[in-house]
C-alpha cells in the first residue's frame, strides 16, 4: 500500500481538529513533541489503496521562530518533509488565513488547501472563486464543511493526487518588489553554495528568513562556511532597506493578499452579523462580567448538582460489590483487601468522575460556542489588575474541577512568566476533591452555618489566589513587570456540534482518569494497608483498634508539628494522605471510625462525637486542606509544565507555609474571641 505522510496546519479556530477527526475517524495517538510540552496528535486514514499517516501540527498564525508552536510546525515541515501539507483555511476569514498559506508556499511545502467553513462564508454573503484561487496559488483548493463531513472525499482525493504529482508541482515565487527581491536573490545565491544547507532547506526561504533576522536560521548559518559573505550582504541590505525587515515583509505579504489575490477571488459585503449583536450584551461594560459570573454559577450547579446521582450510583455499586466480597471470601485479610481496599478504593475514586466530566462538558460547550473568548475579554481588565494574564481565568475555572488539567491548560498563555504565575496560584482554586472534606466537617461541626462554611472555603481560595498573585508580582524579581497584553481573536458564535464537544470533554477528562486510575487508587490501597496492619494488633476479636495501626503511628509521629493548630494524630494522618490525593482525606477519617461509607451522616456523627475537632479547629482544618500542597499528581504536572524543580518546590513550600499560617490565625483568632 502506498504510504503518504500528511501534516495538518492552520490558524486557530479554523476547524483543524474537526478535519483531523473526520479523516482519522477520531482515533488519534496522542503524545508530545520530543522535548516539548506541546501535544502531538497522529492518526491514519486509508483511502483508495493509499495509507495516509496524518500528523496534526499546532495551530498558528505564522511560521516565525518566536514561539514554540510555530517552531514545531515549521521544523516538522522543513525537516520531516511530509509528502503533503493540508493547509486549512477559514473561508469566512480568507484574508488573514492566506498569510499562513503564503508562508507555507515560501517554505516550498507541497500543500493542498482545505477551504473550510464554506457554509459560514456563504451565510456571511461571501462568494469565493475557488478555481481562480487555485490557479493563482498553484495548488489544489478543496471547499469543505468539516462539521457536516462535506468535502472530505474530495480532500482525500486531492491529497492522493497531489502526492502523485509531486515532481510536477509548480513553484510559486512571491515577489516582494524591487529592492527586496534583488537582495533575496543575492543572499540565496550565496547560501546555494553551501551544499549541506541548500540540500536540506529551500534556499529562497533561507534568504528571506535571514533578512528577517530569524534566530533559528541565523543559528544554521553560524556553522556554515558562507557565514561571512551572508553577514556582509545583510549589513549592506540594512543600509538600503528599513530596520525592521520582518514587519516590512509581513506588510508586503498582506499587500499581496489584499491587492493581488483577493480582488480576483473574493466577492462579498461584510455585514455585521448575529455575532456582533450578541457581543453588545456579552461584552457590555456593565453587564459583561455579571453575565460571566452568572454563567459560571450555572456551570457549577450543572457540575455538582446534576452529576450527584451518578456519583451516588457509582458509590452504591461499589459498596454492593464490597458486601458481596466480604461475605463470599472466608479469609478475613483477603476479604478486607478486596472489599475495603480494592472495591472501596475504586468506588472512592470513581465517585469523582461524574462532576469532573460534567464540568469539562460544560466548559467544552462554552468554548466551542465561542463564548469563552468573550469571557476572557471581560475578565481581562480584572485579571490584569491582579497581575495575571487575561486568559488565566480559564485554568482557574478548570481548577475548580481538578488541578491537573487546569495546570495543563496554562499552555494557552504565551508569556512564560504569566504562565508560571498562573500555575503557582492555581492550586488555591478549591478542586472538587476537597469538597467532601468541607462538607464532612461543616455538617459535623458548624450546625446551621454549614453552607456558609463550605462557601467560605471557596471564597478564601479565591482571595488567597489574588493576594498571592499580587504578592508574587511585587516581590519576586522574576515576575516583576506587567502581564503581557491581550491579543485575542474572538471567533464567530456558533452552535457546538455534539461530537466535537464530547471529544473536547474527553480530552481533558481522561487526564483526571489517568491520575485517578493510578495514583489515587494506589493511595487508597496504601491507606488500607497502613490502617489494617499490623493485623493482629488492629483486629482484636470483633473490635478494630485503629490506634494500633501503622497509620496511627504515622499520625502520632507528625502530631507534635501540628499541635499548635490543635490537630490530633487522626488529622495528621489524614493530611498526610491528602498529599497523595485529596480524595483520600475523608476516606482516611472513615477508616478511623471503622466505616466503609464515606458520605452520610454516620461519619459526621462519628467525627462530632469523637471530639476530634471543635468548630474553630474544624474550620482551620478545612483551610489547611484548601491551601497546603496540592496532590502528587498536580505536583507532577507542575513539574512537567514549568520544567523546573525550582518552581515545583517553591509551590509546595509556600503553600505549606501559607496553610500553617492561615490555620494558625484561625485557631488563634478563635481562641481570642472565646471559642476554644
Amino acid at each position: 500500500m502506498e504510504k503518504i505522510r500528511v501534516a495538518l496546519i492552520g490558524n486557530p479556530n479554523v476547524g483543524k481538529s474537526q478535519i483531523f477527526n473526520n479523516l482519522t475517524g477520531g482515533k488519534a495517538h496522542v503524545g508530545n513533541w520530543p522535548g516539548k510540552t506541546v501535544e502531538k496528535k497522529e492518526g491514519t486514514c486509508v483511502h483508495k489503496g493509499a495509507e495516509m499517516h496524518i500528523t496534526d501540527l499546532p495551530g498558528t498564525y505564522s511560521l516565525t521562530a518566536h514561539s514554540i508552536d510555530e517552531l514545531i510546525a515549521r521544523n516538522y515541515i522543513v525537516e520531516e518533509k511530509p509528502d503533503i501539507v493540508i493547509d486549512i483555511v477559514d473561508a469566512s476569514n480568507l484574508e488573514r488565513n492566506l498569510y499562513l498559506t503564503l508562508q507555507l508556499l515560501e517554505l516550498e511545502a507541497n500543500i493542498v488547501i482545505a477551504l473550510n467553513k464554506w457554509d459560514v462564508a456563504k451565510d456571511l454573503g461571501y462568494e469565493i472563486n475557488v478555481e481562480e484561487l487555485s490557479k493563482l496559488l498553484g495548488v489544489p483548493v478543496v471547499p469543505t464543511i468539516a462539521t457536516k463531513n462535506i468535502g472530505m472525499e474530495e480532500l482525500k482525493n486531492a491529497v492522493i493526487g497531489a502526492a502523485k504529482a509531486k515532481e510536477k508541482r509548480r513553484e510559486l515565487i512571491i515577489s516582494y518588489g524591487k529592492p527586496f527581491d534583488d537582495i533575496i536573490l543575492k543572499i540565496a545565491s550565496i547560501v546555494q553554495k553551501d551544499k549541506e544547507l541548500s540540500g536540506k532547506y529551500p534556499v529562497r526561504w533561507l534568504a528571506i528568513k535571514l533578512l528577517e533576522a530569524d534566530e533559528e536560521v541565523l543559528k544554521l548559518i553560524d556553522r556554515s562556511l558562507c557565514k561571512e559573505e551572508v553577514m556582509r550582504q545583510l549589513s549592506e541590505a540594512k543600509k538600503i532597506l528599513e530596520e525592521d525587515m520582518e514587519t516590512a515583509l509581513a506588510e508586503k505579504r498582506y499587500t499581496i493578499i489584499g491587492e493581488v489575490i483577493l480582488p480576483k477571488v473574493l466577492i462579498g459585503a461584510k455585514p455585521l452579523t448575529l455575532t456582533d449583536m450578541l457581543d453588545k450584551a456579552f461584552l457590555s461594560k456593565h453587564l459583561g462580567i455579571a453575565i460571566f459570573l452568572a454563567l459560571w454559577w450555572a456551570l457549577f450547579r450543572f457540575t455538582f448538582d446534576v452529576s450527584r446521582p451518578f456519583s451516588d450510583l457509582i458509590g452504591m455499586l461499589f459498596s454492593k460489590l464490597g458486601e458481596i466480597a466480604s461475605t463470599c471470601i472466608s479469609n478475613p485479610q483477603l476479604a478486607s483487601f478486596i472489599a475495603d481496599g480494592i472495591f472501596g478504593g475504586l468506588g472512592a475514586v470513581l465517585t469523582f468522575l461524574p462532576p469532573i466530566f460534567f464540568l469539562f462538558l460544560g466548559l467544552a460547550l462554552l468554548e466551542d460556542s465561542g463564548y469563552l473568548a468573550r469571557a476572557a475579554f471581560v475578565m481581562d481588565r480584572i485579571m490584569y489588575k491582579l497581575g495575571l494574564h487575561g486568559r488565566s481565568f480559564i485554568p482557574m475555572l478548570i481548577g475548580f474541577g481538578c488541578n491537573v488539567p487546569a495546570v495543563m491548560a496554562t499552555r494557552t498563555i504565551d508569556k512564560e512568566e504569566d504562565r508560571i504565575l498562573t500555575t503557582l496560584v492555581n492550586p488555591l482554586m478549591s478542586c472538587s476533591a476537597r469538597l467532601p472534606i468541607y462538607v464532612l466537617i461543616s455538617s459535623a461541626l458548624l450546625g446551621s452555618y454549614a453552607a456558609a462554611g463550605v462557601y467560605s472555603m471557596y471564597v478564601l481560595g479565591i482571595v488567597l489566589a489574588i493576594l498571592m498573585a499580587l504578592l508574587f508580582r511585587r516581590t519576586i524579581p522574576y515576575f516583576k513587570g506587567k502581564p503581557s497584553p491581550l491579543i485575542l481573536e474572538l471567533p464567530l458564535y456558533a452552535i457546538p456540534t455534539v461530537k466535537s464537544t464530547l471529544i473536547h470533554m474527553w480530552e481533558r477528562g481522561r487526564l483526571f482518569l489517568r491520575k485517578a486510575g493510578t495514583i489515587i487508587f494506589l493511595g487508597i490501597i496504601a491507606v488500607w494497608f497502613l490502617s489494617n496492619y499490623p493485623w493482629e494488633a488492629v483486629h482484636q476479636g470483633d473490635k478494630v483498634m485503629l490506634e494500633n495501626s501503622y497509620l496511627a503511628i504515622l499520625g502520632k509521629f507528625i502530631e507534635p508539628v501540628l499541635h499548635p493548630l490543635s490537630f490530633n494524630w487522626m488529622a495528621a494522618a489524614a493530611l498526610l494522605f491528602g498529599f497523595i490525593a485529596k480524595e483520600i482525606v475523608v476516606g482516611t477519617f472513615a477508616t478511623f471510625f471503622g466505616l466503609r461509607e464515606e458520605a452520610g451522616r454516620e461519619l459526621s456523627e462519628a467525627l462530632r462525637s469523637a471530639g476530634v475537632f471543635t468548630p474553630v479547629t474544624g474550620l482551620a482544618f478545612m483551610a489547611f486542606s484548601l491551601i497546603y500542597t496540592p496532590c502528587i499528581a498536580t505536583v507532577g504536572v507542575i513539574y512537567k509544565e514549568t520544567g523546573s524543580w525550582k518552581w515545583t518546590i517553591f509551590t509546595v513550600s509556600y503553600e505549606l507555609i501559607l496553610a500553617y499560617v492561615v490555620a494558625l490565625m484561625i485557631v488563634t483568632f478563635g481562641r481570642l474571641i472565646g471559642f476554644a
Partner: protein, 168 residues
Amino acid sequence: MKRKVENRWIVIYAVVLGIIYIIFGAAEFVLGICNLFSLMGNAGFIEVIPADIFGGFAALVIGSTYLSALSLLKGLRESLGYILVGLFLSVVYGAIYLLIVCADGFGILLTSLEGEAWTWEWLTRGSAGSGLLRPEIWLFFMSLPLAYLTLRKTERRGLNMPKSRESL
C-alpha cells in the same frame, strides 16, 4: 408600520420578563443572605422562592439583560442583542434547573432501590430549591414565545447564525 409596532411589542415583552426576573432574583438573594446567617430559619418564601444567593444573583442578571433592551435608543440591533442574550440565559438556567430536578428524581430512584420509600417530594423540593416550582423554570417557558418572535425577526433580516462550529 407593522415592523415598528412589532418591535415595540418585543421590547415590552422583554422588559416585563426582565422585571419579573428582577423581583424573583432579589427575593431569592435576600432570602439567601438571611439563610446564611440563620436569621430566619431555613424555609423559602411561600414555598416557591428558594433562598439562593447566587441563583438570585443570576436571576437579577437575566432581568437586567432583558431590561437593557430598553436601549432601543441606540438602535434595534443593540436592543435585539440584549434580548437574545437574555433569552440565552433564560434557556440556560431553565434547562439547568430542570436537569437538577431530574437528577434529584434519579437520586430518589436510587435510594428507593436501597430500600427507602419512594416519594414524589423531589418534584417540589430539592437541590434546585423548589423543584419544578422554581420561578426560573416558569420564566423559561414564558420566554419561549419571545424567543420565537425575536428569532423570526433576525431571520428576516438575514442574520442567521451559522449552525456549524469547529474548534481547535
